[in-house]
């Protein structure tokens, strides 16, 4: 069994109105060192497969097919084996 932790974020070229609003809020709370913040999604996926290569292959297919819209989003993930 493998666990895949997937982060999905808007591409850099895509304006993130949620992030902008949160940044304004942080500034009004006095966190004036906050320079940029972008909102993303996190998926915690468990895959019932035997090795890390298959897990990676499956994770990429799952992201490309459903979890991520490549027009606006990009993703990264880490895989760990569950003993």
């Amino acid at each position: 069994m493998f666990r895949v932790k997937i982060d999905v974020t808007l591409k850099k070229a895509v304006l993130d109105p949620q992030g902008k609003t949160i940044l304004l809020s942080l500034h009004s709370l006095g966190f004036d060192k906050a320079n940029d913040i972008r909102v993303g999604k996190y998926f915690d996926l468990k895959l019932d497969v035997d090795n890390a290569d298959i897990a990676r292959e499956q994770a990429i297919a799952i992201c490309d097919k459903l979890l991520v819209n490549s027009v606006i989003e990009e993703y990264s993930f880490v895989i760990e084996e569950i003993k």
Partner: protein, 229 residues
């Protein structure tokens, strides 16, 4: 002529679309549940607005994999007309039948108001009955209608005359102030290159009878019916 309105779990403008086709135009219309594998005999498909699958993951992302979608893609590739309104537009984008994506409105607010639309081209299934140079008063109701695409796609949309509707003011001028949601180039509706698929955020089915304020949306349905009858 036969029209089908596709119903997903969470669709909420399906009855309005059905009503317009049935009562205003007296055209044969049926609902098709999204789990049906086939559309059946059909000349015109409407993907209605709403919140299919609760907008989970991304608007339209899960509806795009409903069993009915394979047959809808086949129907589209044959050049038949499909109108996707609001969530229907989002589904068409997720399916890849139209290019681009819809982001959260730049105000972060759900916007429900009447807007004006400029019609740029009258040579499509959906615009041939629209009065020339008349700004259409049609309401929007969405939280995620901020049209986005990269520069290459926007250039293709412009070169191929695919930007059908743009948000404008009452005089028909496309201005920053008349852009309700931050869409690139004030885009409110686009067609595919073959011009048989229209996706639009405004709701023409909520603007097809004078008694509810405006019937400017009626011309969009009238256009499709003109072409098919």
């Amino acid at each position: 002529m036969k029209c089908k309105v596709i119903v997903f779990p969470g669709s909420n403008c399906d009855y309005d679309c059905f009503y317009i086709i049935d009562k205003i135009f007296a055209i044969n219309v049926e609902y098709v549940w999204h789990k049906n594998p086939t559309i059946g005999p059909c000349d015109f498909i409407i993907l209605p607005g709403g919140f299919s699958y609760g907008d989970y993951l991304r608007c339209g992302a899960i509806a795009r994999f409903s069993p009915i979608m394979n047959d809808i893609i086949k129907f589209a590739k044959k050049g038949n007309p499909i109108l996707g309104i609001c969530n229907g537009f989002q589904i068409l984008l997720e399916t890849g039948l139209l290019p681009g994506a819809l982001l959260r409105n730049n105000s972060l607010k759900f916007i429900c108001e009447h807007v004006y639309l400029k019609t740029n081209f009258y040579d499509t299934f959906f615009t041939n009955a629209i009065e020339k140079d008349k700004p259409l008063s049609i309401p929007i109701a969405h939280g995620e209608g901020n049209y986005f695409c990269d520069r290459d796609i926007i250039k293709k949309l412009q070169d191929n005359n695919q930007i059908i509707f743009q948000y404008c003011n009452a005089s028909g001028e496309v201005t920053n102030d008349s852009n309700p949601n931050g869409s690139i180039n004030n885009i409110a509706g686009i067609v595919n290159k073959k011009r048989n698929i229209l996706g639009m955020m405004p709701h023409p089915e909520r603007a097809s009878e004078k008694i509810i304020g405006t019937d400017d949306g009626k011309a969009i349905f009238q256009s499709v019916i003109n072409k098919l009858l």
